[in-house]
């Protein structure tokens, strides 16, 4: 995304935030409509099988409750993804500490991601989903944010807590791994 388009996108978000803070609730609707689908996609690709919509809702509630701390150093979108990532991690930790303790390994995340495969009738689509599911968690985060949302490496680095260069490497490794998976399958 060119900087001009990114800046324009960020300005729209800031204008909507300002409208909401002045009491315009329709601005909140527009903000949710702009970002909720991407957040839901991200949650699902991170292994959230049930309650992805709840996590997205919690993300918005937390974000709107602390908009006073949003200084626009990063884009609203990046901030929302960061909040959601923490919520996903919290939920996964809580599930690990639950009464039925299950070691959450990469394999389990793959299974959760593939649990929706019944909805994917196309064989080729299923193979692509499996390829993404077999990425490491960090590779999957970077790859999803890059391919699904078109985020620049700078924003991805903020979300996953890494550097721009490392994210670039993770993305290209992920792409190579997917190509290999599909060629071997």
């Amino acid at each position: 995304m060119s900087d001009t388009i990114r800046e324009a996108d960020a300005r729209v978000d800031l204008a909507l935030i300002a409208r909401w803070q002045r009491g315009d609730e329709r601005a909140a609707t527009e903000l949710v409509e702009r970002h909720a689908p991407a957040l839901a996609r991200f949650a699902v690709t991170q292994g959230v099988r049930d309650g992805a919509d709840e996590l997205v809702q919690d993300t918005f509630v937390r974000a709107f409750s602390s908009l006073h701390s949003f200084r626009a150093d990063s884009s609203l979108r990046t901030w929302l993804f960061t909040i959601l990532k923490r919520l996903v991690l919290d939920r996964q930790r809580a599930e690990r500490r639950g009464p039925q303790q299950v070691e959450l390994e990469e394999r389990h995340a793959v299974q959760e991601f593939n649990a929706l495969d019944g909805l994917v009738a196309d064989e080729a689509m299923l193979r692509v989903r499996n390829a993404v599911a077999h990425l490491s968690p960090l590779q999957r985060e970077v790859f999803t944010l890059r391919v699904m949302e078109g985020l620049p490496y700078t924003e991805i680095a903020q979300v996953v807590g890494s550097t721009e260069g490392a994210c670039r490497v993770h993305y290209h490794n992920a792409m190579r791994a997917i190509k290999e998976y599909l060629s071997d399958d």
Binding site: E25, A124, P152
Partner: protein
């Protein structure tokens, strides 16, 4: 499927797929993809990934999300940027504490006043007790005070009957001298070995 050696072009493919590149970059990538089989295949793979992942994602209920959001602070005229819900809670807590303090202060004042009135009545009652064994001619005993009479902390001339006052005046007239109310003059004395020396 092999990788294109042009890393810059490969890096731009996801953003090209999203249509968010500027005009110049879009033209460059389009020209490269048209001539590069690897990048064309990778671009097609990106499209398939987007499609397959999107298929399994539940639809978000925008209305439910918006309904769960905290309300903006439009009434105060202050933007929510400076009035988070957490600060609202703190402000309300202070308001409750201030209200509780006010009620406590008013209640204490009322209790103190009633206690004082009761004490005054007790003083009045005791004055009545004192005046009860008064001489026979003292028939006009002081009536006990009621709370409506105000606060009285002891008896005085006003508690005496007319006869008492006349008797008191008669006793004063019979006195040859009245005690002086002027302070005594003080003569400074300087102490010395031989004794005090008056200046």
């Amino acid at each position: 499927m092999t990788d294109c050696p042009n890393g810059e072009m490969r890096d731009l493919l996801p953003e090209y797929a999203h249509g968010v590149l500027g005009a110049e970059d879009t033209a460059r990538v389009a020209a490269h993809v048209a001539a590069c089989d690897d990048c064309r295949a990778e671009l097609a793979l990106i499209g398939r990934v987007r499609e397959s992942v999107t298929l399994g994602v539940p639809r978000t209920n925008v209305a439910a999300i918006v309904g769960a959001l905290p309300a903006p602070r439009a009434a105060s005229g202050k933007p929510a940027l400076y009035a988070s819900p957490r600060r609202d809670v703190a402000w309300k807590t202070w308001q409750y504490a201030a209200a509780a303090g006010l009620v406590l202060a008013v209640g204490s004042g009322v209790v103190w006043q009633r206690t004082s009135v009761g004490t005054g009545a007790r003083f009045a009652d005791s004055s009545q007790v004192r005046t009860s064994p008064a001489p026979a001619e003292t028939t006009h005993a002081t009536a006990p005070l009621t709370p409506e009479d105000g606060i009285t902390f002891g008896g005085g001339l006003s508690d005496l009957s007319l006869n008492d006052l006349q008797a008191l005046l008669g006793q004063m007239d019979s006195l040859k001298t009245l005690p002086s109310t002027d302070p005594q003059s003080v003569t400074p004395v300087i102490a010395s070995n031989e004794g005090g020396k008056t200046l």
